[in-house]
């Protein structure tokens, strides 16, 4: 319903449709895990051949005033039960006072690393078919708190225009303390009073447009049932470069879960590198990723070591549609190495 002289709602859609072959083809469920011990209990991910709907993503924006805007992202997608579920993945009201300060409240992607805030639920934007394993969404088995429900503050640092220094600070509900919980993101009820905090910064130097370097530090306290309190730290660092032809992404994250009263934390290092080059409408790419989640860590749902290459090609056969073909090979400490080939049509409408 149009409101005379009122805000206008803009809707843009994103969708992807896939055909996958193999055990590690599916970019959303990758691999399937349940409370295994890492080397002895994880169920073997069966090979599958299937046409699959990806995420039907409705991206909503509205400008309420010169300084106030709203962003929302509603995603409908199926899972292994073949049911379609609806998630409100993002909703944030943002007040932008000036280039140096803006504040948002709602549910957003936590500013950990680069990929998590650069790419959301529309696969058309990303060169590769799916997210690196370290940035999998919580309901796909991801270990990082990629979503946060809370408040976020960000802006440029004054007098650093040549360096392009930006800052970001966030406070909100961290993920649930229970690894096996059906829903990890605490949208309504928080199982503890402790709030997660995240500080991030990045530079985009003018001397080399397209270059961005940054890092973040996340801290939370979890209260898993039957266990001591856990202090969680997540540090990230990245360097990325884009120009009209090249894309080069490099990120590293260290997740540490420290049970109070014990001497050492459980550390889980993760990293990936991705390189792509554009040749007209064709963009071949290569990604190599590594993630090692300590098998003794009682907090992580994903356990074990996973690493391997993905190689693919993206073809922008239309301005707003792309075809991608990607082969994945993944060493998995809990089961034999997996292979997968996935074809994807990704588009915006």
């Amino acid at each position: 319903m149009a409101i005379p002289n009122g805000p206008t709602l803009n809707i843009r859609g994103f969708f992807d449709f896939n055909f996958g072959v193999g055990s590690v083809a599916n970019p959303l469920v990758f691999p399937i895990v349940s409370n295994g011990c890492g080397t002895c209990g994880n169920p073997v991910t069966p090979p599958h051949t299937a046409f699959q709907a990806g995420e039907f993503d409705l991206f909503l924006t509205s400008k309420l005033s010169d300084h106030l805007s709203f962003l929302g992202e509603v995603v409908l997608g199926p899972d292994v039960t073949n049911e379609f579920g609806v998630d409100i993945e993002r909703y944030q009201l943002t007040y932008k006072a000036n280039p140096y300060f803006s504040a948002s409240a709602g549910r957003f992607h936590t500013s950990i690393g680069y990929y998590n805030t650069a790419y959301h639920h529309g696969n058309w934007f990303s060169t590769a078919e799916g997210r690196p394993i370290m940035y999998l969404f919580e309901d796909s088995g991801g270990v990082l708190p990629v979503h946060m429900v809370g408040v976020s503050f960000t802006g440029e640092v004054p007098r650093t225009e040549k360096l392009g220094l930006h800052w970001n600070a966030e406070v909100g509900n961290g993920n649930t303390s229970t690894p096996a919980a059906e829903t990890s993101v605490q949208n309504f009820y928080s199982d503890r009073n402790f709030k997660a905090t995240n500080l991030a910064a990045y530079v985009k130097p003018q001397f080399l447009p397209g270059l961005q370097l940054g890092g973040s530090w996340y801290h939370d306290g979890l209260s898993p049932a039957g266990l001591p309190e856990v202090r969680q730290n997540i540090e990230s660092a990245y360097i990325v470069y884009f120009n009209s032809d090249w894309e080069f992404l490099n990120e590293a994250v260290l997740l540490s879960n420290h049970l109070l009263g014990t001497t050492r934390p459980f550390r889980s290092p993760m990293a990936y590198t991705q390189l792509a080059r554009k040749f007209g409408i064709y963009r071949p790419y290569f990604r190599y990723q590594y993630i090692s989640d300590n098998v003794k860590d009682p907090v992580n749902i994903l356990k074990g070591t996973y690493y391997g290459p993905s190689i693919g090609i993206r073809v922008d056969f239309a301005d707003y549609a792309a075809f991608k073909l990607q082969f994945n090979h993944l060493f998995q400490s809990s089961q034999p190495a997996g292979n997968g080939l996935n074809a994807q049509l990704a588009f915006t409408f």
Partner: protein, 154 residues
Amino acid sequence: MRTTFLFLAFALAAFLVCSAAEPELAVVVHKSTTVDAVSSGDLRLMILGEKSKWPDGKKVTAIETLLDSPERALLLKTVCKMTDAVLKRYYMHAAFTGTEISAPKEVASSEALKQFVARTPGAIGCILASDVDDTVKVLKVDGAAPGEAAYKLR
């Protein structure tokens, strides 16, 4: 020796003729704009919508001509350093990540761009240097003005 000299003289003459013939993009602003020069980095940020304020606090209003115009082609090549398809995706991606940036307003011709800039404090646009008149102010870019050897927007 004489042949080499003649060859070099011919090459130099050809270079000078070709350089002189290259169209240049002039950065034009409202006459009340207090700055006389801008860096190529800042210019790019203003055109891409990432820099929204002049040093005196006035709002930057970026203007561009339609896609098929020679000014737009030069702007994409020398300032934005992107193709039009990449630029569209850039604006869409900015909106998708919640980054509030404003794409330049679009006008039908360089004459319309000049008229808009002439009446709008804070406006900035790019037209062919040959189309500049006294209704707008021309900014130096990286210390050089159109016509100077060091000027890069060509």
